[in-house]
């Protein structure tokens, strides 16, 4: 989702660009509960969009895993789009043009030339998005509620356990989350470093 959007934004010279950039970046500024609240409204049967989703597509998104997924996606979008957009803009325009004059399509150019040359931006976006989604709380709580076994995510489970004074259980959840996040981040940064070293060799 982030990739085509970032590509379009980086290449666009449209007058609407600032507007779209602002919409994508809104979750950076607003409290997560605001996003969650409006998504909750949008998915419910009191709005046109919600009625369309439920009636036509049979998608009832509130308090389901799908709803959480979409909520997290909207909320984490700027963390993916912004590094990628910066990455695209940093690449010299002549790289794209050189590929075009060699007869390469836009897609081939994106896949074989642009993306391989912006790996740091790509990894940065993945790390930020991942980290942010893992720690996501407000949007998920608003849309998903906290239904055990269905929409209860780790961060909310911890909060619930602490509220009920089950510190041992909270600690188990929290420590697992910490360990998983740490391992994945270390792996990603290690990979970035190795890649940079290989590039200079």
């Amino acid at each position: 989702m982030g990739l085509p959007l970032a590509y379009a934004l980086a290449r666009s010279r449209s007058r609407l660009r600032p507007l779209i950039e602002a919409v994508v970046s809104l979750p950076l500024v607003l409290p997560p509960t605001v996003i969650g609240f409006y998504l909750l409204l949008a998915f419910s049967d009191s709005t046109a969009l919600g009625r369309f989703l439920i009636g036509r597509l049979g998608m009832s998104l509130n308090f389901t895993f799908g709803g959480i997924l979409i909520g997290s996606l909207v909320y984490s979008l700027p963390f993916m789009v912004q590094p990628l957009q910066a990455g695209f803009q940093q690449l010299p325009r002549s790289l794209t043009e050189a590929a075009y004059t060699l007869g390469k399509s836009r897609l081939t150019t994106l896949w074989r030339v642009l993306l391989p040359n912006m790996k740091p931006a790509l990894l940065n976006g993945i790390v930020l998005t991942f980290a942010h989604t893992l720690g996501e709380f407000g949007v998920v709580l608003m849309i998903g509620g906290s239904l055990p076994g269905r929409t209860r995510v780790a961060s909310i489970a911890i909060y619930d356990e602490v509220q009920s004074l089950h510190y041992a259980q909270a600690n188990a959840y929290a420590f697992t989350l910490l360990a998983v996040a740490f391992v994945i981040l270390v792996a990603l940064y290690w990979f970035t470093k190795k890649d940079a070293a290989r590039r200079l060799a």
Binding site: S94, Y100, T101, K104, R112, N117, R199, L200
Partner: protein, 281 residues
């Protein structure tokens, strides 16, 4: 045969101007474009390559229509068989020299053979497994040239390919350009500011200024650079041994493009060694 008339609005330091150029190139011609910065040289090349859209006019290459304002026809750059060498070389940093060529040669008949041929023609075989960051400017420029040729273009567009190079690698690349032109006989447009370079490589030169053609004609060698000589012998490999007028000195030079002098012919030469290097390189 290339025939075009292209116009495009230019934004120059002197305010808005209109680029308006009408030219016809004979097959195999090497045309140099020179002029001050902001004259529209690079814009003209980009219009020919399809990297920018002209405001009006037409462009025909070997009887094929690449652009026509009247018929609202515009061929995207991907479908124009041309080679473009960029000022900043624009090599793909994620690929080795060989991979850069292979990427360009993909889809051509016998891509491997083509690739190997170009590597050896431009003396890149030794460097084939290196990435562009590990190459000097001159080496990168030779890779860019090889990559442009790997598509088997019908038209070669060179945007100041020699501007960023110093003395020896400049000489070497000039030689490479002359060799390539002899070998492939490609219609070529070359942007250059160096009169000696233009005189050595080009059949004709177009001087652009503020978007207009100031002069089209034979290249003028820089004053005082000409030396008379007489051909002593024709050597294998397209070389001539020439005795310089008024001395006993003999020099060996490549035969001029498109003609074969015989012993006894009088020639005008431009000698190109500019300084004596301290170290052999």
């Amino acid at each position: 045969m290339i025939d075009f008339h292209l116009t495009k609005a230019l934004h120059t330091a002197a305010g808005p101007r209109k680029l308006d150029v009408r030219l016809t190139l004979a097959p195999g011609e090497l045309l140099a474009i020179s002029g001050p910065s902001g004259a529209g040289k690079t814009t003209l090349l980009r219009l020919l390559a399809g990297l920018s859209r002209p405001d009006s006019g037409f462009l025909q290459v070997d009887g094929q229509e690449w652009y026509s304002h009247e018929r609202k026809h515009w061929l995207p750059p991907q479908r124009r068989p041309l080679g473009f060498v960029f000022q900043d070389y624009a090599l793909f940093p994620n690929m080795t020299v060989r991979e850069n060529l292979a990427f360009a040669a993909a889809g051509q008949p016998n891509p491997r053979q083509l690739e190997a041929g170009l590597l050896s023609l431009l003396e890149l075989t030794e460097l084939a497994e290196r990435r562009p960051v590990a190459l000097s400017g001159g080496q990168q420029q030779r890779v860019a040239l090889a990559r442009a040729l790997a598509r088997r273009p019908r038209l070669l567009l060179l945007d100041e390919p020699l501007a960023a190079l110093d003395g020896p690698s400049r000489q070497r690349l000039q030689q490479a350009l002359a060799d390539i032109h002899r070998e492939f006989n490609l219609t070529t447009l070359l942007i250059s500011h160096d009169p000696a370079e233009i005189a050595r490589l080009a059949h004709r030169v177009v001087e652009l200024d503020l978007g207009r053609v100031r002069r089209v004609g034979a290249p003028e060698p820089p004053a005082g650079a000409l030396v008379q000589g007489r051909v002593e012998a024709v050597l294998p490999g397209g070389l001539l041994r020439v005795r310089l007028a008024g001395s006993t000195a003999l020099v060996e030079v490549p035969a001029p493009v498109g003609s074969t002098p015989v012993p006894g012919d009088e020639l005008a030469l431009m000698l190109a060694v500019v300084s004596v290097p301290q170290l052999a390189c």
